[in-house]
């Protein structure tokens, strides 16, 4: 069992904290506990929110006193394995071309790499979905290769289009909708990450624990897929399903 701290976030939430860093091992513990707690359907637990290094557990303190919830969590922690399950694997198309990649030249200049090398370094990695946050369906994918690690832009953009693919520090994201953004934009994906009206999982394509790689696509292919997505005809499925623990 890993060391963890139970922190109080008011009278209706507890934070189960495994550490204070962006780290795959910490994330594996967080996701393993989240899965166990969700599967246990503990009466009085309202919802759980996994983050990089902690699990927030919202609860009704009248139905489930905090001490009792902590006891349940202790019991669930016993025997948790951080690698007991893996998420789905995705290969998501990204176009790294022209006006869809407004910061590609700048990132190449800052990192001393060619444009082609930046694209290659960004796409050719299996990213881990640490958590979702900031916007519905927005997944924090890591870790970006150290060669591409840059601080956020000095001046954030007021508005970027949905589908923008950005990098900042160790994370990369596809934006599910128009948003302000301080990331460096390397490309654009035609895949909608969130559709509230349809689909399982409340419409989010990715969930924490999933694995993602990017497939560079030419502009014409991107535009065809974007048109299909706009018409609701773009079907994106994982290349591998989730695997349960043995």
């Amino acid at each position: 069992m890993p060391p963890y701290k139970v922190l109080t976030a008011g009278d209706t939430a507890l934070v189960i904290e495994f550490g204070d860093a962006v780290d795959r091992t910490l994330s594996a513990w967080v996701l393993a506990l989240a899965r166990r707690l969700d599967d246990a359907h503990v009466a009085g637990v309202i919802e759980t929110v996994p983050t990089f290094r902690s699990l927030m557990v919202y609860y009704d303190p009248i139905a489930l006193p905090a001490a009792e919830l902590i006891g349940r969590i202790e019991a669930l922690m016993d025997g948790v394995e951080p690698t007991s399950a893996t998420g789905r694997r995705w290969r998501l198309p990204v176009c790294y071309d022209g006006d869809l990649a407004p910061d590609l030249d700048d990132v190449a200049a800052r990192t001393g790499l060619t444009r082609a090398a930046v694209i290659d370094r960004h796409a050719d990695i299996t990213y881990h979905v640490y958590m979702l946050g900031f916007l519905p369906g927005l997944a924090y994918l890591g870790d970006v290769t150290p060669e591409l690690m840059l601080p956020r832009r000095d001046v954030p953009r007021i508005r970027i289009p949905a589908g923008s693919v950005g990098i900042g520090m160790a994370m990369t994201c596809i934006f599910p909708r128009e948003s302000p953004c301080g990331l460096h934009l390397l490309g654009h994906s035609p895949v909608p990450l969130w559709r509230p009206q349809n689909g399982a999982g409340a419409g989010a394509l990715l969930t924490p624990g999933d694995q993602v790689t990017f497939a560079p696509i030419p502009r014409h292919e991107h535009d065809e897929m974007a048109a299909a997505a706009a018409a609701g005809d773009l079907v994106v499925t994982p290349i591998e399903p989730a695997k349960d623990a043995a």
Binding site: L7, T8, A9, G10, D11, T12, A13, V15, E17, D20, A21, V22, A34, I46, E47, T48, V49, P50, T51, F52, R53, S54, M56, Y58, P61, I62, P65, A66, M131, L132, G133, F134, L135, P136, G137, L138, Y140, R152, P156, G168, M169, M171, C173, R177, S179, P180, C181, G182, L183, W194, P196, Q197, G201, A202, G203, A204, T207, P208
Partner: protein
């Protein structure tokens, strides 16, 4: 014709809200919902609706709306407000209506809600509710995500907000007496989750200081102005989840209470968290209001939560028929220049 309220002027920020979109924060979906759920419940009770039905949340300055239904029962619960019923859109003068009651309005009549006094949020419920589709189990408007409520946004002039009922049920109008919607001078909070990012001296100073509700507050967060709080271990943390009422302290040391529209995750340390029983009252605070925080234990928070639940349970017995002809006139206070729309709270998220 579809029964509707036709929006002539939208007010400062008028949205449909219910008790929130619970259960999807792990996918980045904010909870949203009424800033003052106690007032929302009372408004629904007066209109004859279930407690968690969607109603209009009016912030600071209200809308002007024309009734496009045979008749409609409308209730108003919140602070004092200048509310007039005009006979038609061309009319200048009408009859004033007090808050904390229901009224029945006929086709073509106009509801004109001016500025609110002594509180930030007024709830306007209609009998039968608005005919809008729930998104993930809630009709609360999430402006940032563009979902819920009416077209995922605040009302604008020209909107026709559809109603479920074409006419009001035949019954007496009613009012609610003795519901305490006063502004809190003291807000109770539990230290943490990042109490260890602050020295004992600074935590003590936080609970000893008086803060003023600042401009730039909005449905995401309430910006407070007062003695800055120093950080013992820097002001960036690895992002974690944000509970309602979290009091985060960004780099400038000025605390922000995170409210209904807060992001699900963020990267500033949170010195304390407002207890659940005090969140409805926090939602009423207007710009310039002065508060201080009191540190309480989890046991005390639980006791106060039970009291709030009792208060909610007592709503039906506080409702009484309106005596004919007694309608207090409320005078309009000066409109605060509180800008709710600009000044998005910087939650310190890595992205922006």
């Amino acid at each position: 014709m579809t029964p509707a309220l036709s929006i002539v002027r939208p007010g400062l920020l008028t949205t449909i809200q219910d008790l929130g979109r619970v259960g999807h924060q792990s996918l980045g979906i904010a909870v949203c919902g009424a800033l003052d759920p106690l007032a929302l419940r009372a408004a629904n009770a007066l209109a004859g609706n279930p407690p968690g039905a969607g109603a209009l949340e009016v912030l600071h300055l209200g809308p002007t709306m024309v009734v496009e239904a045979d008749d409609v029962r409308v209730s108003f619960v919140g602070p004092r407000a200048t509310i007039d019923i005009l006979p038609d859109v061309a009319a200048i003068r009408g009859r004033p209506v007090e808050t904390m009651r229901s009224v029945r309005l006929r086709r073509g009549e106009v509801i004109r809600i001016g500025s609110l006094a002594g509180g930030a949020a007024l709830y306007v419920a209609v009998e039968g509710g608005f005919d809008v589709a729930p998104v993930l189990g809630s009709v609360s408007t999430d402006i940032r995500a563009g979902i819920g409520g009416w077209q995922g946004r605040a009302l604008v002039a020209g909107d026709h907000l559809p109603l479920r009922l074409t006419s009001a049920s035949r019954r007496e109008e009613s009012r609610i007496a003795g519901l305490d919607l006063s502004l809190p001078a003291v807000v109770r909070a539990i230290v943490g989750p990042q109490g260890d990012y602050f020295s004992a001296v600074d935590i003590a100073a936080f609970f000893a200081s008086t803060y003023t509700v600042g401009a730039g507050s909005n449905r995401m967060g309430m910006r407070l102005e007062g003695a800055p709080i120093a950080h013992a271990r820097g002001h960036n943390i690895t992002s974690d989840a944000i509970a309602p009422g979290s009091i985060q302290v960004p780099g400038n040391g000025q605390p922000i209470i995170l409210l209904a529209d807060r992001q699900t995750t963020g990267g500033y340390p949170k010195i304390a968290t407002v207890i659940s029983a005090d969140m409805p009252a926090v939602g009423r605070l207007t710009m310039g209001a002065k508060i201080r925080f009191e540190s309480v234990t989890a046991e005390e928070a639980l006791r106060l939560r039970r009291l709030l639940i009792e208060e909610i349970a007592r709503i039906p017995e506080r409702i009484e028929p309106v005596r004919n002809g007694v309608e207090a006139v409320e005078l309009a206070p000066k409109l605060s220049d509180h800008n709710l729309i600009s000044g998005v709270v910087d939650a310190g998220d890595w992205i922006t």
